[in-house]
Symmetry: C3
């Protein structure tokens, strides 16, 4: 570039650097005291190897020894997760930053979380079975673990949910948004989800923070389990805003079920594109009547 | 971490390792005899370079020689695809594992697939033209190849479909789910798709395994070509469950067309959000009547 | 592989290489004179570091010095963006390729774009505030910058829009399609978007090229701001095809608002799944009447 351009770039750089100093939220500079998105994604990838020991292997190990390999991975996760939790706790601590107390809390959270892994794995075994039994296009269970976005999303979600229950800040949401960006399935880590959960296709699914889902529930692409209105914004925080879906419910593609007082009773079937804002009794099938269509040539 | 934590981690590691030995589906350890998702994705990336020689180049080649470069890429794909097909065949072989026969089958499949590439490229040239002619926002054909998700999805799908027709297990679905995770477009490798196919925007599109699509069909974001109900689960496998879309049909965003006996006749136009579960004659326009809306202030 | 296979591969390679020479659009070989998708994505990642200096840091810098680090990043972006713009201008120049004039144009565009960064950052600060105030599930502003797909999409879009206004070819769309592949949110770089814009969840959102959006607008997943029909194809290029959304409008999930003459007046609220093809006055709430549902057991 010509000298004149270099001079311009230098001026622009100065004006951008000046612009950083105006105390705005987008300019927070506390970066080395902040949890790292990249580190958290690396932890998720390691957790997948721990959860599915045969499927997500570290390809740099030529001779595979499940025991020593898993041991290394678990120790790695413990070390890095502990570090990220501590950063998250310090970063969000509102009052006096009692480092010793936060350090203890981070270690406690790390250990409690890791102890939950066998329980999470027991749940995921049921999800895998639900996907296999529920999808006629599934020819092998391996196909589901290796390629189904719904299986990926529920795996990350069940892990993130355990951290959410421990009130670890920031990290659970970064985990589920990573899964969202891979799968198009947006499940808030706060959602409570029962056994044998199956999401087919999945793109566009939204499951809100205070949703409660029973056992053996099946949902399709584009289903929203959402809030009726969020115009209240921050005032609605910690209020129950999302529906309850009881056991053995199926919800077909594009259906929206909204509101914190809405309960879909067990065994019910909600048809495609149905829009529900009040409760549905158990054992009910709800579908759209033939739409009022305009025909022409 | 303190010693006490290290002791806890060691206990947790032991309990997770113990948990692996309970014979569950999520614990299958046959990993070196299993096709590799990472390898299959690398093969897809190489196939893209072969299909679009000018667009997906290997940036490590400073001096580009299309002939020698493509030769190396094709040989690479042949070698790695053959290996992955053999792994997939061995892995899913139910009875006696006749290695020699499977080896022969893998080589035959690899060669048959590679011979199809010129035909696939001829189809993709028609898809590119359909995208350019069909989208007023498309200013250059290059833009479509370099950035349109619909073009990416149909490219991967046409390649995967050839492997599906050869009954190669696991690999075709891993390929299309890779495209799904990049584009939000979920086309099963089993779907049969004619020439000049154009998917605009694309997020949320689902095209089921037994769908048949004619020539010059155009679909938009959120369109589902799906099954009426999959409550039958594995019993429905190999049954025709998805619709037939004849030549020159346009399907606008969010429309759902469901069922194995549903045929949308040629030249028909299906409007946004229309929900169809029975056949539509040729030359028909179907759209929602003005919705029954509630107005307030 | 056996010799016979090697011979077959060699034959296949020959037939694919022959197939490249038939002058089709998928075969354009002008690759070193073409903007590079990978380079443009790298530029986007660098722009994110410049826009959010505390959030997207280069992790290879151990000792972080915001001033020297940002200076290097801005100079890098200037150099690489200038190069890509020049490639794009040369590549799409229809008539005599006046290199000197294009070089000057590329430098001018690069400088004009970089000068806009403080303005873009001022807009993004308002978007961040809109997301925080609008989402009861948002506990920290950091969470939004680090993980909300809507924030990512609008960031990339506001940057790409500036290049679109400068009529830089190819690059703006490659930038927004990168964001689309990460977030499922498809905003054309041509769309004009006011302050305090918030997209919640976001998967499946489509905002067309000629859309105009006012200040403090909030939209949810699956909203389409689209064209009524694009059957006219390339003939419709440069015609106003997409709607106008005035200030303070909220549009809930799955709603479609279509057509270049459609205006949604200020303060209006459009309910989930509503389908609108004509204008809506200011201060109006439009929602679906209770759907005509079929109930069964």
């Amino acid at each position: 570039m010509k000298n004149i351009i270099e001079h311009e770039i230098s001026q622009i750089t100065k004006s951008i650097l000046d612009d950083y100093g105006t105390g705005r939220n987008i300019d927070k500079m506390d970066l080395f005291n902040q949890p790292s998105k990249e580190e958290i994604i690396a932890i998720v990838e390691d957790l997948l190897k721990i959860v599915y020991p045969g499927y997500y292997r570290d390809r740099s190990y030529k001779i595979y020894n499940i025991k020593s390999n898993s041991t290394v991975t678990i120790e790695d996760v413990a070390y890095h997760l502990n570090k990220q939790i501590l950063l998250a706790l310090k970063y969000t601590a509102k009052e006096e930053n009692d480092v010793e107390k936060l350090t203890e809390q981070a270690e406690k959270d790390t250990v409690t979380f890791l102890k939950k892994i066998p329980d999470v794995r027991a749940m995921l075994e049921t999800d895998l079975e639900a996907a296999f039994q529920g999808d006629p296009a599934a020819k092998y269970r391996d196909e589901i673990i290796l390629s189904y976005p719904g299986m990926f999303a529920i795996t990350v979600n069940r892990l993130a949910h355990e951290l959410f229950l421990l009130e670890v800040p920031l990290i659970p949401r970064i985990m589920t948004e990573y899964a969202h960006s891979i799968t198009g399935i947006d499940i808030h880590p706060g959602a409570t989800i029962g056994k044998y959960f199956f999401i087919d296709h999945g793109t566009g699914v939204v499951v809100g923070e205070t949703t409660v889902i029973g056992d053996r529930v099946k949902i399709y692409q584009g289903v929203t389990l959402g809030a009726l209105s969020t115009r209240g914004g921050q005032k609605l925080r910690d209020v129950r805003r999302h529906p309850t879906i009881e056991d053995d419910v199926t919800i077909y593609s594009g259906a929206s079920i909204l509101g914190g007082e809405t309960v879909v009773g067990k065994n019910s079937v909600i048809g495609s594109n149905v829009f529900i804002t009040s409760s549905i009794p158990a054992d009910t099938k709800v579908s759209m009547k033939d739409q009022d269509l305009r025909w022409g040539q």
